[in-house]
Subunit: 335 residues, 2 copies
């Protein structure tokens, strides 16, 4: 297996990306292709000891800046790390691409070079969020805004497969995010989508609400990309705030400080559980190749996780399964 | 001042509602009107000592169930606590209504009996969410789904006044919830709304994201009711989950348990800060009367808070200010 890693993507690129990629070599079976300006990568690699047989540098001298229009930049800068990365996937030289770069640029590059899976109208970004026990897959979290009910149905199908294969859930419970459990609650989009999901041969459990993400009531939450992205950022912000408040509280009194010393490891474990970087690696489902988008603030740990997700997606043949499933359903729908 | 309290609304009605109302008597200047079935209220009141001059029972024998269609139920059951409550406000006998009943029923009753403020197309429910320092007003959180850009502008204007008067913010920083800070990021609704908000004479700070709710970067967050409601429920769910995870972690080891004993009061304060019941009382802005909607799971504490919010809204003449402001802006827009 060969995983291409976009060395130039993300707030902490290239240092943390290279660090995570090098660290992951010993954890995965296969080879890492570091994609970015050769001179930069070579310079950074001097800091590490690594198995040369398991690492390859693929030169991609162009750099896309965060303030460039993603689609335009990817088209113009054909030697950017993202453009080169998706080309590696298209040609079969890489089995998957991991990038923590601009979501828009990764999307645009993937659509341009890999295209969509036949039958898929719009790709979706799926993300795993921590639940009280286990985890919940939420999609779309930002590939599209203004989705149609047909788009939402495809998110549900792709999420269903991903949850089965990667999160190891049997008959995943698929819920539609709305503002009340009753079928009639919601906006135009969710009310129409509800009727379509009801007809599918998946374990559709009806409408769910934001709070259900964090419980075991639901394995896959389907929503429009605007709503999903908002949820994700709200959860990130709140989670960060709670820990900051906790820190303030604990530092406010000596006795609390003493207490917190006793429970250091417990608090650390809790923080780890809530840490979205731990869950790094959101698959871009629906494009014709395995593409994993890392969080913009990915550090080495998140990069390693994203690489693991990429490997598992390849091993479990998620792409082929989505292809089969979407064609089957699309076929059925046409009958 | 006379505040009508819907005794039959909410998961813990009538007990917790009556408890909260009676407890609030000593804290507010004015009179509480308990609205609900007279016999039920009289029976429950036997448990309390209270100043008879400051409490009045207003009989409302009909009860609206949670599973009834709200608009229909309020129209048919003209002697329900909500219908009677809004009539009290309309007639001027009460200065405000507090209800933790079905949001849909309170909305429908208010629109039916009080109507909208002249110039307001759609009312909005505003809610206060805790930030790291202070708090942030989010609206709409569920009065409407499928809002128009014009609706969103009115939410911004009403939220601006409420934040000024009740949250005591001078020149509140008003942000538009979207999926990126740049003006071009968002869906059709937010992109159009952005252009309209830019022209208003308020402190519009542009697009904000879910995470900004919990910081001091923003005082008022404007969004569609579907998105707002989702945010609110996601935040509630996550907050609850973090504390449950914390509890599990702390009980997992003796030493952590010992530590948590030391920091009991710190953890309690933190929980209080994150407790949405503390912030009980979401104003229904844009209807022609002061109506405060309590959380469905309101207990006495939340009821007391909602009553306080009602009193302050009356004292600070929020209603008149919205009337003036909306007319002024609408007038300007027509010029």
């Amino acid at each position: 297996m060969q995983i291409a890693v976009d060395v130039m993507g993300g707030d902490y690129a290239p240092d943390e990306i290279i660090k995570g990629a090098v660290e992951s070599i010993s954890e995965i079976e296969g080879k890492i292709l570091l994609v970015g300006p050769e001179d930069v990568i070579e310079e950074k690699l001097k800091d590490y000891n690594y198995n040369l047989n398991r690492l390859e540098i693929i030169d991609a001298p162009d750099v896309i800046e965060m303030d460039e229009t993603p689609a335009k930049a990817v088209r113009q800068k054909t030697d950017s790390s993202i453009a080169v990365g998706v080309r590696l996937v298209r040609s079969g030289k890489a089995d998957a691409l991991v990038s923590a770069g601009s979501t828009g640029a990764v999307m645009a590059g993937s659509l341009l070079k890999l295209g969509r899976i036949k039958g898929v109208k719009r790709p979706a970004i799926a993300t795993v969020m921590p639940a009280l026990e286990g985890e919940t897959l939420v999609l779309d979290v930002g590939a599209n805004v203004d989705s149609t009910p047909e788009n939402m149905v495809q998110y549900a199908l792709m999420g269903n497969i991903y949850a089965e294969q990667i999160l190891h859930k049997s008959k995943p419970k698929v819920g539609l995010l709305s503002i009340g459990e009753e079928a009639k609650k919601g906006n135009e989009l969710t009310k129409e989508t509800y009727q379509l999901l009801k007809e599918l041969d998946i374990n559709f459990i009806g409408n769910v609400e934001g709070r259900d993400i964090f419980t075991t009531d639901c394995d896959v939450v389907v929503c429009d990309g605007f709503v999903g992205n908002t949820i994700l950022k709200t959860a990130e912000g709140l989670s960060k705030t709670v820990f900051e408040m906790m820190k303030e509280e604990l530092e406010a009194s000596l006795i609390a400080k003493l207490g917190s010393w006793f429970m250091k490891s417990s608090l650390k474990r809790l923080k780890k559980k809530m840490d979205y970087a731990e869950y790094g690696g959101a698959p871009l489902l629906g494009v014709n190749g395995v593409v994993i988008i890392g969080h913009g603030s990915s550090k080495n740990k998140a990069v390693k996780n994203a690489i693991n997700v990429a490997c598992e997606s390849v091993e479990r043949q998620v792409l082929d399964q989505i292809k089969e499933n979407i064609n089957e359903r699309t076929g059925r729908a046409d009958e």
